[in-house]
Amino acid sequence: MTHDQIDRMVRKANPLPDLNALEPVGASVLTTPLERRMEMQTDNRQVTEDPGQNRSRGPLVGIAAAAVILIAGLVFFLTRDDAQVAQPAPNATAISDEMDTPLAPGAYFVDTDGDEESSLGGTFVIEGAGWSSMGAGPRKVFGEGYVSLLIVEVDQVWSPACEAPAPIAAGTTAEDLANQFAAAGFTIQEAVSPVSAFGQSGYQLVVDVPGECTGTANPVWEGPTFGRFYHEPEGHVVEYWFLDVDDTPVMVEASWVPSSSEEEVAELQEVLDTLVITP
């Protein structure tokens, strides 16, 4: 099914597609209990509640619930920020380049070019426990499976990955790199498409890795800070973003294995939500 087909199905299932289907907001339904509460808010008079008017909550429960909601709302509004403009998390720590180093909750920076003078790289936030470093990103292991995220630059690409005896130079633009990966011989779930992600523009590609393309005999790419990369196991799902960051192509690779549950992939998405790539 295509994105448009799903979109049409979801929109058609809207339980209230037409606002006008709602009866006019009746004062007796909404405004009476609300106005009574507003009076309690404004003059602090003791209010005698008519149990016939508010069928679901007594006044004390209402006040307590409103207080809880107020506090929750207050916390929400104090803690939210203008995050829709991609800003890297402050005070990020450079991620350990030692594989499997545990990552405590906090903000981490992946330096994609290995140049301490530049800020080129990605910043992400880990909130939960159980994450460890893959050198160029975080990984979380769940029993036999895992989810992972890599933020890298790429020097060389094996294309087609399952057959190429030697690598070729990686494309010098995000689009070239995306097309090289699209031709790498993986099973394409979603073809290369333009995207804006993590504060940058580029291209997205989603693939499955067939069995004959896995293992150390079938490298896929090599980068200056990561080394040679290959997939394991069969069916590995990889979501790529190839981004043009001030003329430098940066690759973000989120992946999970067939046994990963939706909850596990959701944990990866939580990390992706925080990722910002900076030039």
Binding site: M1, H3, Q5, I6, D7, M9, V10, R11, K12, A13, N14, P15, L16, L19, L22, V25, V29, L30, P33, L34, R37, M38, Q41, T42, S56, R57, A65, A66, V68, I69, L70, A72, G73, F76, F77, R80, D81, D82, A83, Q84, V85, A86, V195, S196, A197, F198, G199, E262, E263, V265, A266, Q269, L272, D273, V276
Partner: protein, 185 residues
Amino acid sequence: MATVEMARRARFESIWAEHSLKVRAYCVRRVAAHDADDLCAEIFLVVWRRIDDVPPAPKTLLYIYGIAGKVVSNHTRSFRRKSRLDEKLRNLGVAPPVDPAFLVVQSSDDAEVATAVRNLSSKDREIVMLYAWDDLPRDDIAEIMGMTRSAVDQRIHRSYQRLARVLEPLTKPIPSPPVAEEGAT
């Protein structure tokens, strides 16, 4: 002082007149109909308390949706606790009362799609509902959810992929029943 209070009340009434229908619809799309009005009232109670902080148009409705998300989320948690209690009652052989709000007339396919949407994780569900049911632009959803626009794009994309997997059987043609051959008994 009285003038200030009157101005605050006038502003609240103006917000109410302009947005209460959309906020009520937001609630109807997420909770049982008989709870929707109570929740709408709770949301506007918070708006009243924070009336001095409510931003002017065009940000007003986004601000209210932010409050609504929290209020509905609290309600949903309470509802889940009640559902667990109902389950225990059923196990004891006591049938909990049927909520007429759930007997909404809807095609079975639409009901299945709506159920699949409701089974998404809480954050994904809210984003998909804001996008497809409340018809908000993705930039507005990013602001309400406190996320980047690209995070919203990704979550919609991934949620739709998940829904596609779950709903795939709905798009398969139903095989015709075998036609009896002429003369067969």
